[in-house]
């Protein structure tokens, strides 16, 4: 066997597979993540709210007295109430305590609202930026009025359709995130490490073709990411019933484009530094914002409009949106062509710039 492209590819694969941690990060992690987040946001949900209740000394807390103490005097205690409806179980923990103590509980995240009573009306103190506070206000004002959390208008029908659950949103995100991480660490970091260990220069000081070297890196990573993704999708199908509703060919195409995009980025980022710590920092600097902003775990629609227009040009956003469209909305090849083109061009441009300035020695 003398084909150096093939031998290089196999060597890269062996190098990766024989690293004990790598298997966990590429297979174990996405699956554990989907189990954890999937269970947290699916099935009959159970939600817990903590609330601080401050009795005042002027004997006017009629509502609190009547609701919790049968008209008697409120004393320091913890009262729990359970509310069951079609949405699942909601539990409220009422901490009856002093204002100072309630502030401490708030700082520790044990409660998210503080309630006082003034002239027979409840006053809700909460951070207006925290949606939980508002939810608590709506639910509890019903509770103090009617004894349950919802108003008596309308009824609830939880959505169980495929493609509309949180897990359907999450799985495509975990898939694209996994590909980005796999390439940024498995290619970018690995190349920087090879440079820092003087291996890159040793290899280039042979008749080895640089194109073979790069192609082998790309091919071995493609094999690994295909494997990772198939494992994740099969798992998601059997465990959560996540189905790919669109075209498999379209998925393959966007998958390839995403691989090219991040491979190009990896070559560009790894083009100069021989310092693995610098490399580490640069990779984190690139991947962390994308992980947070690109709508992997929650939609980026809640960001301000100017931010959304920036977020939308991130390669991970484009990649994830297209994969989601295929998996959940049944998109076909035509629908993802623009995404394929954008990611492909992004990858090609970053790759060739990276290669142009690449420091082999």
């Amino acid at each position: 066997m003398k084909n150096s492209l093939l031998i290089l590819t196999i060597s890269h694969l062996k190098e990766f597979i024989r690293e004990p941690g790598s298997m966990f990060w590429s297979f174990g992690f996405p699956i554990l993540m989907s189990i954890g987040l999937g269970l947290a946001f699916s099935g009959k949900k159970e939600i817990m709210h903590g609330v601080g209740l401050i009795p005042s000394s002027n004997n006017q807390e009629i509502l609190v007295r009547n609701t919790f103490f049968g008209g008697g005097v409120p004393k320091d205690t913890l009262i729990e109430k359970r509310f069951d409806n079609e949405n699942g179980l909601t539990r409220y923990a009422f901490h009856i305590t002093s204002w100072e103590n309630a502030e401490v509980l708030m700082k520790r995240g044990i409660i998210s609202s503080i309630l006082t009573e003034e002239g027979g009306k409840m006053v809700y103190h909460y951070d207006p930026l925290n949606p939980e506070g508002e939810l608590i206000q709506i639910q509890l004002s019903n509770f103090f009025k009617y004894g349950h959390l919802g108003q008596d208008t309308g009824s609830i029908r939880p959505l169980k359709t495929q493609g509309m659950r949180y897990i359907d949103f999450l799985i495509p995100g975990l898939l694209t995130l996994g590909i980005m991480m796999s390439i940024m660490w498995g290619v970018c970091y690995s190349l920087i490490e090879k440079r820092s260990k003087k291996l890159l220069r040793r290899m280039v000081a042979t008749p080895m073709r640089k194109t073979d070297f790069m192609t082998a890196y790309w091919a071995s990573r493609l094999v690994l990411t295909v494997f990772d993704s198939v494992v994740l999708l099969v798992f998601a199908y059997f465990f959560f019933g996540v189905v790919i509703q669109g075209s498999i060919a379209a998925l393959a195409l966007i998958f390839l484009a995403g691989n090219i995009a991040f491979f190009g980025l990896a070559i560009l980022i790894s083009s100069h530094t021989a310092n693995t710590q610098v490399g580490n920092g640069m990779i984190s600097l690139i991947t962390t914002p994308m992980m947070v902003l690109s709508g992997i775990f929650f939609s980026y629609q809640s960001f301000p409009p100017w931010a959304i227009s920036v977020i939308k040009v991130l390669p991970l956003t484009k990649f994830t949106d297209e994969v989601r469209a295929i998996v959940n909305e049944g998109a076909g090849i035509i629908d993802v062509l623009d995404g394929v083109a954008i990611l492909g061009v992004f990858g090609a441009v970053t790759f060739f710039i990276g290669l142009k300035i690449y420091k082999w020695f």
Partner: protein, 315 residues
């Protein structure tokens, strides 16, 4: 001049090579010729510029100025071709840790379109048969050095450039490596540039020696010529129990005296031991000084180096 040298073209010719890093002149005007079948040792202390010099010859670093011709060709136009002429081992290379010795050799062999047969030969040559299936990560320092040499030898190179190939090897392993190299010289007329801190290595292995420091050649030539040129061929090392009773240079024949604190002895450079030693002993006896230690030997490269720079070669 080497008589062969006049008739043949040098395989490597270097003309006024310069290379600086910020404020360090790593290589500061070096000229050099290497002829077919010739072994040259580049000796020098840490930071002398050895690695910078050989890496420029290997095409890894770019000179600031000066020319390098390998078989009459230069790196900028003949990169692929010259990579086939040279076999190199860098001062420190970490090969892929989770590949085995054999897999590593197969990988490098594939770059030269060589197959497993050659890999087997090399494994036998560098005596790593037992470690063939061991991960590179688990090799000892010396075994790694041998693997690096094996990779350098894969493509039957005409010119070998080895950067400190025996640093960290035990004496036996070092000798084995010397024998491998000498065999290549006789069987294949291979040329060699080798950097080292060990004088014995340079003496035993090489036809010519180049001593460099601060990027400049201090002396070059055959070992004997170098030593002869020095005019002080012999050394008396003497350790005393008390302070020296007189200045040693007042003894006829002693040309230079210095104190070697490492061995706690005086090193006297003399023209001829047989003439000077009796006079020295007689004078010491007269002054009733007791001798703790006495050693006579011929001048070595290290002595030469010290008298040129005031420093040891392998400090």
């Amino acid at each position: 001049m080497n008589p062969v040298a006049n008739q043949t073209e040098p395989v490597i010719r270097i003309e006024s090579l310069y290379k600086s890093f910020k404020d360090v002149k790593a290589v500061n005007g070096i000229n050099l010729k290497l002829f077919p079948g010739e072994f040259i040792a580049v000796l020098g202390p840490n930071g002398a510029g050895k690695t910078t010099l050989v890496e420029m010859i290997e095409g890894i670093q770019k000179p600031d100025s000066g020319e390098i011709f390998i078989k009459g060709k230069q790196w900028k136009n003949h990169h692929a071709e010259l990579n086939r002429v040279l076999g190199i081992s860098l001062q420190e290379t970490w090969f892929i840790e989770k590949l085995t010795v054999k897999e590593t050799l197969i990988l490098f062999a594939s770059f030269y379109k060589l197959g497993e047969a050659r890999v087997k030969e090399i494994i036998a040559l560098i005596r790593l048969e037992e470690k063939e299936k061991a991960y590179v990560k688990n090799l000892s320092g010396g075994q790694r050095q041998r693997l690096a040499l094996g990779i350098a030898l894969l493509n039957y190179p005409e010119v070998l450039i080895l950067d400190e190939p025996t640093t960290g090897l035990d004496p036996n392993a070092r000798r084995e490596l010397w024998e491998i190299l000498l065999k290549l010289k006789t069987e294949r007329n291979t040329s060699l540039i080798l950097t080292t801190h060990y004088m014995e290595e340079a003496e035993y292995l090489c036809d010519r020696i180049i001593i460099i420091d601060h990027g400049k050649i201090l002396a070059k030539g055959k070992l004997n010529d170098l030593l002869q040129a020095c005019d002080k061929h012999e050394i008396i090392e003497i350790g005393l129990l008390g302070p020296p009773p007189f200045d040693f240079t007042t003894v006829p024949g002693v040309q230079k005296s210095r104190f070697n604190s490492k061995d706690n002895a005086f090193v006297l450079e003399v023209k001829r031991i047989v003439e000077t030693l009796p006079l020295l002993l007689k004078k010491l006896e007269e002054s009733k000084t007791e001798i703790a230690e006495l050693q006579c030997r011929t001048l070595t490269l290290d002595d030469l180096f010290i008298s040129m720079t005031g420093r040891h070669l392998n400090a």
